[in-house]
């Protein structure tokens, strides 16, 4: 289970919560920022993910607030969640490192947004 790669929305939600405890809409905004506006989470996806992450013990409820007569529940990363995110970061770093070394060694010229880097 822990060996399986995290899906991108899950990865981004955990990354958002790694900064500080956040409520639902805060997570959505933060994920947009982290992903350069590329990933826009919607409520259905977000709460299905939060439900699952809480069941797996990767996140937990931090506190509840009432703002404008509406409940806001803040979620935070657990130690287990931090460990899972760190493992995923390590896995992505390994893959990214391998890909970039091979690209450099191949001498094939890369085009596209990241192409200018080499």
């Amino acid at each position: 289970m822990t060996d399986r790669a995290l899906q991108e929305p899950t990865f981004l939600i955990l990354t958002a919560l790694a900064a500080e405890p956040q409520h639902g809409y805060g997570i959505i905004s933060d994920v947009e920022r982290i992903s350069n506006e590329r990933v826009h989470l919607r409520a259905g996806t977000l709460y299905a993910a939060l439900d699952r992450l809480r069941e797996e013990g990767l996140i937990e409820v931090h506190r509840e607030e009432i703002v404008d007569a509406r409940l806001r529940r803040y979620y935070k990363l657990t130690n287990k969640g931090a460990g899972r995110l760190a493992a995923e970061v390590e896995r992505l770093r390994r893959h990214a490192g391998a890909a970039s070394r091979r690209l450099r060694a191949s001498g094939i010229r890369a085009f596209g947004p990241a192409g200018g880097a080499w």
């Binding site: 919607r42 409520a43 977000l46 709460y47 013990g57 409820v61 506190r63 509840e64 509406r70 529940r73």
Partner: protein
């Protein structure tokens, strides 16, 4: 409430009840925070995303729902089997005594059938509790079919409960699991309580300790009996799990059918026929059996299961998210 909020609420209604109890307000907050000024309808993408999210959450619930139902059937398997011993089993014993008296001891083949009917459900329970699962299931179906074919109309009324018991024994972990879920002392307390109430009830409707029916006092006896059953049910079954609620709902269906039949036949407020009125006059033991097993027991069970179902539902309302699931999700509490 704005039109947009009302529409979002309608969409959120497709989520599981416990999920809604915890997350509905929070999700509404997120949906409304993301809405454009003046927006009146949910966007098609948001709506599709909510449907998809609800489906994911329902799918994740399937294992625990299956466990709740299999636990409910385990509880049904023990209670329904015990009831079949106490209801039609006892009636068969009464008919056996009646036949022996009427035929003054001479051999009659109906003795065999009545003997089988007396022993059928105790045998099923015994086989199940000593771990002979396949034998107990086979015996249960044989006993259920025997009950449905019916040696007497009074016993035939219990056919539905017999079939439910056989189904529960076949498709559940069995009575041992049911007893473990309820607690053995609670099961015993409940059955003893119901039997004691039944005895008091029979005494209450009898003029002369069970010799002739004194139906003038019946309404008082019924009321006392109903209140007593409710009390015993409340005290004995102080659990409020989803499985117990489902079990009581399943059990209430055939028991309600029995009570309705009694109502239709007028057996609830007239002197009992059958065993009560024998060719040798009203015999106190037979009269007792008839009033208890034919009339009092189904009514007590009917009331008892209704109360348990209510308690179970109220209990689940108070612990909305995870209280009724034995494993998996950690409690949702701040901090």
């Amino acid at each position: 409430m704005s039109a947009l909020e009302a529409r979002y609420r309608r969409l959120l209604a497709i989520y599981p009840r416990d999920h809604r109890a915890v997350h509905e307000e929070e999700m509404l907050g997120v949906l409304l925070a993301g809405a454009k000024p003046g927006q009146r309808r949910p966007g098609i993408r948001d709506a599709a995303d909510l449907l998809r999210g609800a489906m994911l959450i329902w799918l994740r619930r399937i294992p625990s729902m299956r466990r709740d139902w299999s636990d409910a059937l385990a509880i049904v398997s023990v209670l329904a089997s015990v009831l079949m011993c106490m209801g039609p089993g006892l009636l068969a014993a009464g008919f056996l005594v009646l036949n022996v008296i009427e035929h003054s001891g001479s051999w009659n083949s109906v003795y065999v059938w009545l003997g089988v009917a007396v022993l059928a459900w105790p045998t099923v329970l015994l086989l199940a509790l000593v771990g002979l699962r396949r034998s107990s299931v086979t015996a249960a179906w044989a006993a259920a079919l025997l009950g449905a074919l019916g040696l007497a109309q009074e016993m035939q009324e219990w056919a539905g409960l017999g079939l439910l018991a056989a189904v529960a024994l076949t498709w559940s972990p069995g009575p041992a699991r049911g007893i473990a879920l309820l607690g053995r002392s609670r099961v015993i307390a409940y059955l003893v309580g119901v039997a004691a109430l039944g005895a008091v009830f029979v005494y209450g409707v009898s003029d002369d300790v069970g010799l002739r029916p004194g139906w003038a006092t019946a309404p008082v006896a019924w009321l006392a009996f109903a209140l007593g059953s409710a009390l015993v049910g409340r005290v004995a079954f102080r659990f409020n799990t989803a499985a117990a609620g489902r079990a009581s709902l399943l059990l209430a269906l055939p028991v309600t059918a029995i009570v309705l039949t009694l109502f239709q036949n007028g057996d609830l407020w007239s002197p009992p026929q059958g065993l009560g009125e024998t060719s040798i006059g009203a015999h106190s033991l037979l009269y007792w059996i008839n009033t208890f097993a034919h009339t009092a027991l189904p009514v007590a069970m009917f009331l008892g299961f209704l109360i348990i179902y209510r308690l179970a539902r109220r209990g689940r309302g108070a612990v909305p998210d995870v209280g009724d699931r034995s494993e998996g999700t950690p409690p949702l509490a701040p901090g």
